[in-house]
Symmetry: none
Subunit: 192 residues, 2 copies
């Protein structure tokens, strides 16, 4: 039985979305920080005290607190001699799926684009050229991402790149110029 070749999808376009959430998770995935948070859940505290409680050096505690403060998990305020650290409780009510799931709530425009792309691309290939103008533009813009800004391409190069997505590179090349994504000057093509 022949099995499909699974072309690569082109490494994760959605880094940024995951990034912040990942930051929070990484932060919480440390034994010492969890211990600190558990103590702060009970009472505010300060560097030296936490160091004693956990049998670690103040430098280490400071390292963790600063890290958590930068992420908005804890807050600090000087009080006399000490800098009192306290919990930012709001953060802790999120569920795991809320944290892990990519924001599909972006704006509706983005969402619509994603749906269109999901519909017309399968495994990185364009299954069909959309007949609706708006959908066609979205699809063409996606293909255009494979061209570098400001770079000149010969017709053969253009065809080869487009061919990665769909057999009919002629139609697509023409459409890209028609809808103003690319321009042609004599023999060379480039993004607008």
């Amino acid at each position: 039985m022949a099995r499909s070749a699974l072309p690569k999808r082109g490494k994760r376009e959605v880094y940024e979305q995951v990034e912040e959430k990942l930051k929070l998770l990484k932060l919480l995935a440390d034994e010492t920080r969890i211990e600190i948070l558990n103590i702060l859940m009970r009472e505010d505290s300060y560097v030296e005290k936490l160091a004693c409680d956990l049998s670690l050096t103040p430098a280490t505690i400071c390292y963790h607190l600063k890290k958590m403060e930068a992420a908005g998990v804890v807050r600090s305020a000087r009080s006399q001699f000490y800098i009192i650290y306290s919990l930012n409780k709001e953060i802790f009510d999120k569920t795991l799926s809320e944290i892990i799931k990519k924001d599909d709530t972006a704006d509706t425009e983005e969402k619509y684009k994603k749906e269109v792309l999901a519909h017309f691309f399968k495994y990185g290939k364009l299954t069909q050229i959309p007949s609706q103008r708006k959908k066609r533009e979205i699809v063409l813009a996606e293909i255009a991402k494979s061209f570098e800004k400001g770079k000149d391409y010969g017709e053969k190069e253009v065809n080869e790149i487009i061919h990665l997505f769909h057999e009919d590179h002629c139609t697509i090349r023409r459409e890209m110029i028609a809808c103003g994504i690319m321009e042609r000057e004599r023999e060379t093509y480039r993004l607008i």
Copy 2:
């Protein structure tokens, strides 16, 4: 001004409680695993396909899936050629505090103490001396933690330490003796 010496509390007695939860958090604190989970939220998948989607080798994907399977986050089942991996959705409804918090289901006495302390201390300061005897004892016991067992203190020292928590060190010093937390012998004070 002399500041209290902060006797060590003896390193974390509660490792085990944190351990499992830590395992889950560590698991989720990885970009690749989050990507995998996001894909599995949409549809079940298999090693090779995920490898293509994420531009990683099957070996790497397998490494992550096995890890997550061991923790009960995903499940696997063979289907023809492929081993289909799917999400164990129940896990994702927990909130962060549920994951992080140590089991406070301890005894109610402990819980009550915590509530009282949380109410009367803000940023490490005693906001008000409780009038109810029981609550006052809890608060005084908390302050007493800043004194070392068996050590003798002069009245000035005692006042200084208490002053870290509240202006009225005289009242508190008197109360600590009245309720049997401290004893006074001539000029020296010590914990009982």
